[in-house]
């Protein structure tokens, strides 16, 4: 890695914060700041201008959603700052708020995902390069609650897998790897899905995420 990604961390649990720093440094990233609350994160980002901010949703003082508020605000203020929001539980409403109209450079993952180090790092890098990383849990919740279940049931099992992975923000290559099929096969599935669900075809992966999420959510 020529220029390592520069990362700021906001996480109030000392154990997790130290663990994350250890993991990221071990993987060759540069950790510019590791702080315990949203206020300190704002200061750190203003000063260090990192590429990515990893933000815990629930932090002091109110222990509700100050991390999320900070993430939305930081995104408005700093063009090009990628944000990975990181939480112990998934709220679909949070995902919608966070994505807004633009899913580029946004991630929302369960904290558990750090256990699979490579996947976590891959998601972090995807977000840093302007992609999207949504936790499979978000996609599962959306699919479960979607009023479009009838039209989703038209899809084949394989197509549903592809739809889920698309919604998580994966590229066709990654989807192909994950399902152990060729990229061409994935492309075919994607085309089928878009025509079956009558979705507008999007060129970029993060627009594709929004299109799928909107579809599931309405």
């Amino acid at each position: 890695m020529a220029v390592p990604l520069r990362i700021a961390i906001a996480e109030d649990s000392v154990i997790l914060r130290d663990g994350l720093v250890q993991l990221l440094v071990d993987r060759g990233f540069e950790v510019t700041a590791a702080v315990a609350d949203a206020g300190a994160l704002r200061v750190a980002i203003e000063r260090e201008r990192p590429d990515v901010a990893v933000v815990d949703i629930r932090m002091p003082p109110s222990f509700t959603d100050e991390g999320l508020r900070a993430a939305i605000e930081l995104r408005r203020q700093h063009q090009g700052l990628a944000i990975l929001v990181f939480s112990q539980y998934i709220e679909t409403r949070y995902a919608e708020e966070l994505l807004g109209d633009d899913a580029a450079g946004i991630g929302y993952l369960l904290k558990d995902r750090v256990a699979d180090v490579s996947q976590f790092v891959e998601a972090l890098e995807r977000v840093a390069s302007g992609g999207t990383a949504l936790d499979p849990e978000v996609v599962t919740q959306l699919m479960g609650a979607s009023r479009r279940r009838d039209s989703i049931s038209v899809l084949t099992a394989r197509e549903r897998d592809v739809l889920s992975l698309m919604a998580e923000g994966r590229t066709n290559t990654a989807i192909a790897d994950s399902l152990c099929v060729s990229e061409g096969a994935v492309e075919k599935h994607v085309t089928n899905i878009f025509s079956k669900l009558d979705l507008p075809v999007s060129s970029s992966d993060h627009r594709r995420v929004l299109a799928v999420l909107r579809y599931l959510d309405t």
Binding site: D12, S13, I15, L16, D18, G19, L20, Q22, L23, D26, R58, F63, Q88, K111, D112, V114, A115, D116, V117, S118
Partner: protein, 448 residues
């Protein structure tokens, strides 16, 4: 000793005299008179309204209109009862709790049904029925005494030519034969003096009948205008239930917070270290065994910490020692205390689990207080069954001065305990004079 004995009757007489002399000049006397006067129109107009409506209702009872009129009468009586209560509150400082507000069911028929079943309204009606004759007697008595007092005291000021008979009205006419105090009987300075003295006597006597009748009225209002014992009880239970619900919600939130910040974070960190170690082991070419060993060591340490945290948390939710009974659980508590603690438990019958849990947490909290605040050298815990009650006593020989202070809506410490005990109709009492010793007594029902 002798002096006190001799002077006691004197001081009593003195006090009595002072009371008699001062009473006509106190605010209370005049407020009572005003209450009696103001109560008259309320009672009479109220009775007229209720009486006429009721009578019409009863006459027409076979028609719907009649029933509706009875409903209106009951509802009206409730309103008048409320006015009377406010009057008593303002003038007599007689604070009578408001009964449950009238909460009619929706719809016209619902209203009528609620009005007809309104115990408060019917009781207010009974109050009015007794109040009217009482007010009448009271008014005549009070008015004649005060009026005569006024007339007699001001007798010398009347114009010479206008001096009519004093014994024309009220108490004077009853007490004195016609002509006894009348100027027609010769008049002169003697009569004037006698009249003024009579007036002065009336002036000092007049407050007492008024006070007596107001006292009767107070009793009547307490009996008929206050919420009945059942309502008060229901209200208390509702409060206790609300407290219980709040407390259990707060407890759940605390447990969630502890799990989220503690164990869950520990386990995520643990999984992360193991994940890193696993990936390093998979990459056999660049394997740095020391690095992996450090990761596994950290993970191992984290796992042990998570176990300890989880155990403490579980014990805070429900102490496992309680499974074998309160006695064993209290023994564990006493043994764990940093201050030498004597324990005496005499229970014949096992209390219900909820009571055992409350008893346990009470003792735990009280002993923590002793350890933190009392500077005590010894402590004692006793737990005994007394009939259907469980009595816990925690005492220490410390500095004392413990108080149940309620801090806003969220209570903590002793007052939090008192709240918790009250949710099962129990009672917590603290005696803690400065310099100690402190004794906290908790009474809990055996079953809840």
């Amino acid at each position: 000793m002798l002096i006190t004995w001799g002077s006691e009757p004197d001081s009593r007489l003195e006090e009595l005299a002072r009371t008699v002399v001062e009473t006509p000049f106190t605010r209370r006397t005049w407020a009572e008179l005003l209450f009696m006067m103001a109560g008259m129109p309320v009672a009479f107009i109220g009775m007229a309204f209720v009486g006429i409506t009721m009578a019409a209702g009863v006459v027409l009872a076979i028609t719907f209109i009649g029933i509706a009129l009875i409903g209106v009468a009951v509802r009206g009586a409730r309103g008048i009862g409320g006015m009377q209560r406010r009057l008593a509150g303002a003038l007599l400082d007689e604070a009578i709790d408001d009964p449950e507000p009238f909460a009619p069911r929706p719809g016209y028929l619902g209203w009528l049904q609620s009005a007809l079943r309104d115990r408060t309204g019917w009781k207010a009606m009974a109050y009015l029925a007794v109040k009217v004759p009482l007010a009448l007697v009271a008014f005549v008595t009070a008015f004649s005494l005060w009026w005569d007092a006024f007339r007699c005291l001001t007798y010398p000021l009347w114009g010479i030519g206008n001096r009519g008979s004093v014994a024309e009205w009220g108490a004077v006419r009853v007490l004195f034969q016609p002509g006894y105090l009348s100027p027609g009987n010769g008049g002169g300075p003697f009569v004037a003096l006698a009249t003024v003295i009579t007036g002065a006597v009336f002036f000092f006597v007049a407050p007492w009948p008024v006070r007596f009748f107001d006292y009767l009225d107070r009793l009547l209002m307490r009996a008929l205008l206050a919420p009945d014992a059942m309502t008060v009880r229901v209200r208390k239970l509702e409060q206790a239930r609300a407290q219980t619900v709040d407390a259990s919600a707060a407890t759940l939130r605390r447990i969630e917070r502890d799990l989220h910040d503690g164990t869950q974070a520990q386990l995520v960190a643990l999984a992360m270290r193991l994940g890193m170690a696993k990936e390093k082991l998979a990459d056999a070419d660049h394997l740095d065994i020391d690095q992996v060993r450090d990761l596994v060591n950290d993970a191992h340490k984290g796992a042990k910490e998570a176990i300890v945290e989880l155990r403490d948390l579980a014990r805070g939710i429900h102490p496992p020692a309680l499974d074998v009974g309160l006695e064993g659980a209290l023994a564990t508590l006493a043994a764990r205390s940093t201050i030498p603690t004597e324990l005496a438990v005499t229970i014949d019958e096992r209390p219900s689990p909820a009571i055992e849990a409350i008893a346990y947490f009470c003792v735990a909290e009280l002993m923590a207080n002793v350890a933190q605040h009392a500077f005590a050298s010894r402590a004692g815990v006793s737990c005994s069954q007394q009939g259907r009650w469980l009595r816990l006593v925690v005492r220490d020989d410390g500095v004392g001065g413990a108080r149940a202070v309620s801090t806003g809506s969220s209570s903590s410490g002793l007052s939090g305990l008192a709240d918790r005990v009250r949710t099962v109709d129990g009672n917590l009492e603290v005696t803690s004079p400065p310099r100690g010793p402190t004794v906290v007594t908790v009474d809990l029902p055996l079953r809840a």
